[in-house]
């Protein structure tokens, strides 16, 4: 994991050149260098792969305009003429309306390694997965199962500088390995996926073992009707649901009355008890195993995050605490406008109930009757006012009887709100690192517990398998 991009200027030099070329009231330069390697496989053989080197340079220029400050943002990739980019951003800034999200640019912190070369990755980082894969394919064919999957590793290095003197640098490794096994008749399937920083903890044989175990549960098929069921959701499925809770935590949208966190009649539900269980849903740059950038990088303003806040120090932020809504996302200007606390979107997400113990298997053992739903899929918002989501189960739904998995059942379409679901949770496991089945490619750093939830609404049966 070493190297740099030949032909491209050192990123710190690009930042300094951009800031040096700036002529207006303020400037932010962000250089994002990305190195990626991946291999994909299906029908028991490799399919596509890739090695990529990318660079994006973003300039946000702040100009004095009639009535306040305007901002212009321009991004370009590759061997960028940063002076040209600064001029383009400045041109936009001078013709922009007054920016509602304006705040003083941040300074004061200079990272000691700001001038260091960005590290890179390549396919060798996947050798632990690839070395065993051929034998895994061979065993799958003998067992009349069909494997598909994906292993990828990315190293993203961010250099961020402001005209107020801030210089921050962060290196973010991100990896994931996923594997699906389907029986050759297509009747049953199972999925496993793990997130990792460096693949030192990932082996294809371990993924294979778990798939074999889950497919073994499918030897007995049981008919179960749609309706409300007690379900055990493993951490991966919980992650895909909690991504929506965090993604709906925009303060401005809530103030506007447009989300599940809006208070009827005006304002937000901050402080309201959402679950009798003392859940904490948080983002924390220092979370062990899923560490992420301790400062904010924003290349386009939104309702929740502002380019003016680039470099903002991030700390542990609880979206839910003790089962109450604790924070919504506000940039600095929005927080001032609404009398709220600044809270920036994080790059990891953790749900935890202090003191909760047990794995998914332990929750199954503690369940008299219900369904083990291993994966959720194609989850979309039906009603933002309640955060009602619809989606499907996928790659393994199993019947639990007297604390044991006793057979496989059909897939279902569900209609459920993850906010309501936290209020109907009856058992919680220990929080562990996990990878969401649907959103793990985009929200890699999650840690979740298994949950048991009563009255989960399986709206209809899906014949998919």
């Amino acid at each position: 994991m070493t190297g740099s991009q030949p032909g491209l200027a050192p990123p710190a030099d690009v930042v300094e050149a951009g800031l040096g070329a700036a002529r207006c009231a303020g400037c932010v330069v962000v250089v994002e260098d990305t190195s990626e390697a991946e291999v994909r496989f299906a029908v028991n053989t490799t399919t596509t792969n890739g090695i990529r080197r990318a660079r994006r340079v973003t300039v946000a220029s702040v100009a004095e305009v009639d009535g306040g400050l305007g901002v212009g943002v321009a991004t370009r990739s590759g061997a960028v003429d940063v002076t040209d980019l600064v001029r383009a951003a400045e041109s936009q800034a001078y013709s922009a309306p007054v920016a509602d999200d304006a705040s003083p640019l941040l300074g004061g912190v200079v990272d000691a390694e700001f001038g260091a070369t960005p590290p890179e990755t390549d396919l060798s980082v996947l050798s632990g997965v690839l070395s065993g894969l051929s034998a895994v394919f061979e065993r799958a064919e003998r067992a009349r199962t069909v494997l598909a999957g994906f292993a990828s590793h990315t190293v993203a290095t961010t250099h961020l500088g402001t005209s107020a003197g801030l210089r921050r640098r962060h290196v973010q490794p991100t990896g994931a390995a996923q594997m699906v096994a389907r029986t050759s008749d297509g009747a049953n399937s199972a999925w496993v996926g793990v997130g990792t920083r460096d693949f030192a903890d990932v082996a294809s044989e371990a993924l294979e073992d778990e798939l074999v175990r889950r497919l073994g549960w499918a030897s007995r098929r049981v008919d179960v009707d749609a309706g409300r069921h007690t379900v055990v959701l493993p951490p991966s499925a919980v992650a895909d649901l909690m991504v929506y809770v965090a993604g709906s935590a925009g303060g401005q949208d809530a103030e506007d009355g447009r989300t599940v966190f809006s208070k009827p009649g005006g304002g937000t539900r901050i402080g309201e008890q959402l679950s009798s269980l003392a859940f904490e849903l948080r983002s924390d740059p220092a979370e062990p195993g899923i560490e992420c950038a301790p400062f904010l990088t924003v290349t386009a303003s939104s309702a929740e995050a502002s380019v003016f806040d680039n470099g903002l120090a991030l700390d542990r932020t609880s979206w839910l605490r003790d089962g109450r809504l604790e924070h919504l996302q506000y940039h600095r200007a929005g927080a001032v406008r609404h009398g709220a606390q600044v809270a920036a979107p994080g790059d990891n997400l953790v749900l935890e109930l202090a003191g909760a113990q047990g794995t998914t298997a332990d929750l199954v053992a503690r369940t008299e009757h219900g369904l083990l739903v291993t994966c959720l899929w194609y989850i979309r918002v039906v009603d933002p006012a309640t955060l009602l989501l619809t989606g499907l189960t996928r790659d393994g739904v199993y019947l639990i009887e007297d604390g044991e998995v006793t057979g496989t059942v059909t897939n279902f379409r569900f209609n459920e709100s993850p906010v309501d679901l936290l209020a109907r949770t009856t058992d919680v496991g220990a929080t562990v690192r996990t990878l969401g089945r649907e959103f793990g490619d985009y929200v890699n750093r999650t840690a979740m517990p298994a949950l048991r939830v009563d009255d989960f609404n399986m709206s209809s049966v899906s014949p998919a398998s």
């Binding site: 990626e36 090695i51 013709s95 051929s134 009827p264 939104s302 194609y378 897939n411 709206s459």
Partner: protein, 498 residues
């Protein structure tokens, strides 16, 4: 601001990549040099909230070496970098060669020589100053914010221009330029009882230029004028009684049902299992080709990469295959698939039908969706009003909103922007909380009538997701209005236990 790499430099970069690949003994190689400019402007209640102007440059090289694919790409568009890519791509092919179980073959495609093509537009939307974009959205926002009962308005415009240079060892050298634009406006009315209702414009994303916002291809003035009254009516409307209804579905909604239940289901890579780990497979497996009753006999669905203003339209795809049109469902039977060169070869086709696409120069091409369209009734065909007149108790569905379908494309659920009750052949006010659920073949089997050409609209999306790493493709879907009998309608609030 977006400066395109001079064509002489592009030629040199592509030649460097292909020459180096050839010297390394590849059996196939193709290179793309691209500049993609993507802009987003968003206003909330008339104030600028988001402004981004992102230009991506890059070069990507795909090789086939000793029966394995290798892909390498860089944002550094230079001769030296391109030559290095050949070594990296061949190196990647060698790494996976040690793992693969079967060699990969690509269906043959002849060289097409030098090709120059542009999509049909007047004004590149990314060349319009950002200030002009902000001003247009602000004007639209003001028109709605001044109306009684509207509490909030969000307005967006997304604009993209692509400049794609392609060359391969078969001798095809293509230069293609595409633009697309998607403006949208959503009005929100807060419900005094709690909650809210929102209504968005139904104007689809299109392969047109800025002239689209001036009314070429969509009547913005009429839709914006109608929105406040429609939203007020929706807010005051009753919640739907769940049950079975006959649906007349407007193309602004039906395009998405086509996309999910036909477009993805007839992608051959899915049907063969290549997407089993992520996007999913398909119930429409190759053994059912020519026999699967997909829908009623009036159902005729085509794929094409040629439609004017189509978001998936090109002249040459990202594997050097010439754009084509083809049948997917004819007389209600499954008769075809969307192919790329690898899946075409795997399934025994002589040739791909040109459905390879990469959303970035840094991504490997994969099989992506053509413009998949439900054809209207021949000759004049019925109008939407005539379809509605044939319904005793039903719902007229307009505009898309929430969507979800399972990984084999059987079970789907959709909502919409506007739901009008149909009583005795006439529209009878709006309904709230409507969602319709179905199973693909049952739903299309219940399609009793399609509208004529006058009801046909080319709609679509910028954001069709597929593949790992994830790629996002723009795609259009043409549809007429359609009458579908006896569809399962849910009450979304009741589904949420309220």
């Amino acid at each position: 601001m977006a400066k395109h790499v001079p064509s002489s430099d592009v030629d040199a970069v592509m030649a460097a990549a292909l020459d180096a690949a050839r010297q390394l003994g590849v059996s196939d190689a193709s290179v793309r040099v691209e500049t993609i400019r993507a802009q987003v402007v968003a206003l909330r209640d008339g104030a600028l909230e988001t402004s981004s102007d992102d230009t991506e440059d890059g070069v990507g090289l795909r090789v086939v070496h000793d029966g394995s694919i290798g892909f390498a790409a860089t944002a550094d568009v230079s001769v030296d970098a391109a030559a290095r890519l050949a070594h990296q791509a061949v190196g990647a092919a060698k790494v996976v060669a040690a793992v693969r179980r079967r060699p990969l073959e690509l269906a043959a495609e002849p060289g097409h020589g030098t090709v120059s093509w542009s999509s049909s537009y007047r004004t590149d939307p990314t060349a319009v100053p950002m200030a002009e974009k902000v001003a247009r959205l602000a004007e639209w926002s003001r028109r709605l914010l001044g109306q009684k009962g509207i509490d909030h308005v969000t307005a967006h415009v997304r604009a993209v221009s692509e400049s794609k240079h392609y060359a391969d060892l078969q001798g095809t050298v293509a230069t293609q330029r595409r633009v697309r634009v998607h403006p949208s406006v959503e009005a929100v009315a807060l419900d005094p009882q709690g909650g809210f209702e929102a209504m968005r414009t139904c104007a689809p994303p299109v392969g047109r230029g800025w002239e689209y916002l001036d009314g070429e291809g969509w009547d913005w003035d009429t839709e914006l004028d109608e929105l406040p009254e429609l939203l007020a009516e929706k807010l005051a409307s009753p919640s739907v009684d769940a049950g079975r209804y006959d649906l007349v579905i407007d193309p602004t909604n039906l395009w998405l049902t086509i996309h999910e239940s036909i477009g993805h289901a007839t992608e051959l890579d899915r049907a063969l299992g290549y997407e089993a780990a992520y996007a999913g497979t398909s119930f429409a497996t190759p053994d059912k080709l020519g026999t699967l009753r997909y829908g009623s006999p009036i159902m005729h669905v085509t794929g094409d990469r040629t439609a004017e203003h189509g978001l998936a339209s090109v002249a040459i795809d990202d594997e050097g295959v010439a754009a084509q049109s083809f049948d997917l469902v004819k007389d209600g039977l499954l008769v075809g698939y969307q192919l790329d060169r690898a899946t075409a070869s795997a399934a025994g086709y002589d040739r791909s039908n040109g459905c390879a696409f990469a959303d970035s120069p840094l991504h490997v091409p994969i099989q992506r969706m053509a413009n998949v369209s439900l054809q209207p009734a021949p000759s004049e065909g019925p109008t939407t009003a005539e379809l509605i007149a044939g319904v005793e108790r039903g719902i007229f569905v307009v505009g898309d909103k929430s969507w979800s379908i399972d990984m084999q494309r059987y079970n789907f659920q959709f909502t919409g922007q506007r739901f009008f009750r149909i009583t005795a052949g006439r529209l009878d006010g709006q309904l709230r909380d409507v969602a319709y659920q179905g199973t693909t073949t049952e739903f299309w089997g219940s399609m009793e009538a399609v509208g004529g050409r006058s009801t046909y609209l080319l709609a679509g999306a910028f954001n069709c997701g597929k593949g790992q790493p994830g790629q996002v493709a723009p795609v259009s879907h043409g549809a007429p209005s359609a009458l579908v009998r006896n569809v399962n309608v849910l009450n979304a609030r009741a589904e949420g236990g309220r």
